[in-house]
Subunit: 304 residues, 3 copies
């Protein structure tokens, strides 16, 4: 592959590049345990204009395991960027003087790409708007490959909020590079945008829309659940109607194949009952660790 410079969108990567990232991640499993000094002199700036403890700490853990250092902010409120009306371009042209790489989360679609245009150092998109979250998609792909041994040939259900959830958009695009069958299960008002479905179909993926979790769960290799996020709803009554209709508990879990796996980008609320956490199919906390591994790979490939 060409050298990995920025990581803005899963759309920017072809299958060969994704496979290489997943291969480097596999090598990071042992580095993560032993720790390394490969990036000892490197500084990672974390610019979280929108708070996200999970993603931020995952990147920080990855950087620390590679021996690097960290600076930045966890919310725009404590930043000049937020309070004093500075443009994103100016913030980036400033922070690029402080660090060797920028990991940023921003509430606006396209913000990471704008940042990359102005930056002389690499940018990793840690979530922008409702569309892109490429390292989440890559860690999801890595989790599937690690746990199922392959991606090609699998049937994968994406469940929950498929309209506002940026993780399923990025994952759907990532899966398009593989020979998979995808089931989409969402409430009427939270269905995946037709444009994204069309893109998956064009790439050769068989896409089926189903109406409830029971259909989604049967005879598949991977169930990818997502939280129905209250804060994404324009109308709170809409939220109350769909909340809890798409969930997996002890009753639903009986429909799961023994070798199926359940993933979730977390945090969860009610959509995955804690009653199923002990089951061998429940892999969402292993997935958290895979996020550290995958981000080590990305940092290593860009900075190493």
């Amino acid at each position: 592959m060409g050298e990995l410079r920025n990581l803005i969108s899963i759309h920017d990567l072809d299958r060969e590049q994704i496979d290489e990232i997943l291969d480097v991640a596999a090598k990071m499993e042992s580095v993560s345990v032993k720790r390394s000094k490969d990036l000892e002199s490197k500084i990672m700036a974390v610019l979280f204009f929108e708070p996200s403890t999970r993603t931020r700490l995952s990147f920080e853990s990855a950087m620390l395991r590679l021996g690097g250092s960290i600076l930045g902010f966890a919310e725009a409120g404590t930043s000049s960027a937020g309070g004093k009306g500075e443009t994103l371009a100016d913030t980036i042209r400033t922070v690029e003087r402080y660090a060797d790489i920028i990991v940023m989360r921003h509430p606006l679609d396209g913000s990471a790409r704008v940042a990359a245009e102005f930056s002389s150092i690499p940018i990793i998109n840690a979530g922008s708007g409702s569309e892109e979250h490429p390292t989440q998609a890559l860690l999801d792909l890595y989790s599937i490959k690690k746990l199922k041994g392959k991606i090609d040939g699998l049937t994968i259900s994406l469940c929950g909020d498929l309209k506002y959830g940026r993780t399923v958009h990025s994952l759907g695009m990532g899966l398009s590079h593989y020979d998979v069958k995808i089931k989409l299960a969402a409430p009427q008002q939270l269905r995946m945008k037709p444009a994204i479905i069309d893109e998956m179909k064009k790439a050769g993926v068989e896409v089926v829309q189903v109406d409830d979790v029971k259909e989604a769960i049967q005879d598949v290799d991977v169930i990818y659940m997502t939280r129905i996020q209250k804060e994404r709803f324009p109308d709170v009554r809409e939220y109350d109607k769909v909340k809890g209709r798409f969930r997996i508990g002890t009753e639903q879990v009986e429909l799961l194949r023994d070798d199926a796996i359940v993933l979730h980008p977390l945090p969860r609320v009610d959509e995955l009952s804690s009653n199923i956490d002990h089951l061998p199919q429940a892999k969402y906390f292993d997935q958290v660790y895979n996020g550290v591994i995958l981000r080590m790979a990305v940092l290593k490939m860009i900075l190493g």
Copy 2:
């Protein structure tokens, strides 16, 4: 002692364990000055669901002196944990994938023990609810032993807010393992709970309740003052009535023995006049440094 795995409550430690921790702390005095790389590859997560600069920075300083790294959050507001309704169990099962040890402060009693039940990595309780703050109790014991040469045989006054202050609860329990006499001096509505007094007496401690600071201060080896915390009062008028009645200033200090020491968990407001800071008995800022030393010992024993 058995290997130190978690540090949740002073109640979990017997005298032998406490003495061993204090002995390791004594060895950390020189390590603190020279610095070390003993924990070079280790990552400490600080999860402060309730802000506390002092305790957080003390742990961070301890970890950095041992060569380790740090990630985490200083208040729940910037954390998914806070904003998105995630359970403490899920937060812990996530963060355990990012770090080698978790140092947590949480507003709820029992939260650290719940965390330890779910965690595959060690948990240190940096303050939970109004009851537990075990590293504070240990650093107080270490300060007494370092400054007075021993703990057995001493007379120790605990003054101020003995009802809501978690530091005096934990310290009282810690002192119960030693042959000490304890004077309790608190306003009527802030007296220590009878259950805690009973527990100290059962352990063989002579406990005397006195009515004001003048009685508390006379003929004792250690005065342990605490702040009467406004935020702990259900009724602000209750606070205004007692504030300032239990304080040590230049007048009270004349009653102190020359070899007595005054301790305080800090921050102070009015209960210790800054007029006495220069006196040889005023040891509360030395106590701050002892907190770094003691926490180095705990981190080293758990992770080293």
Copy 3:
């Protein structure tokens, strides 16, 4: 020069000391690129009672490039110092036990000097009240010397808010040690305080007050623009009247000499059009990097 112990005010430095700091900074240019372990065992506490991402990250980047570690807080809200009514003196006497040097920003004039009186470890003032910001002045002097090859003999315009902006106060004092001519260009209600002008004149500086940016820009070596900060205005209508009257865009830039340089402490709002960013005279982002270099020099001189 005498050993550099604290850095509280540009007033405390004589020309010899300033020149030495600028010389050490020049040596830091290569260290910044290669990184160093000179301060490997040192801990820098950042105490930002008033948020400032730029200055904080600049200090952190400087410390990390020298191999040191960092702890602290980015806003007083998450600090005991803020919430629990602790005095600055007590906060300092606490934090001096956690770190080897304190970098602090505080909203009150004189706060850094008070801190230095109580501290047993060095204090660097990262901005106090509306008066002092010595590392900004030094990085501005360093930028001028690096870009123009010298400071003596130059004509320098200070433009914008000269009344409330602490960067121009400190820079004006710093320039007083050199053989320079200074033009001051500010709206009527934002003119530099006569006391500061008098001090510059007493030091032998030729000071001229001009009425608009066009006069300020012509036939000078350095234009130092500042933002007219809304938050400094007692009356918002006053702000609306002057905003935008003192700005440099493509029209004004034609009056610039080819070898002139435009500096700005950033963040900017409207006073520098982004249309001029590509011009060779626009040096304000280089200036950001010079801030890292200068702060490396100061940290190295105090701690190394």
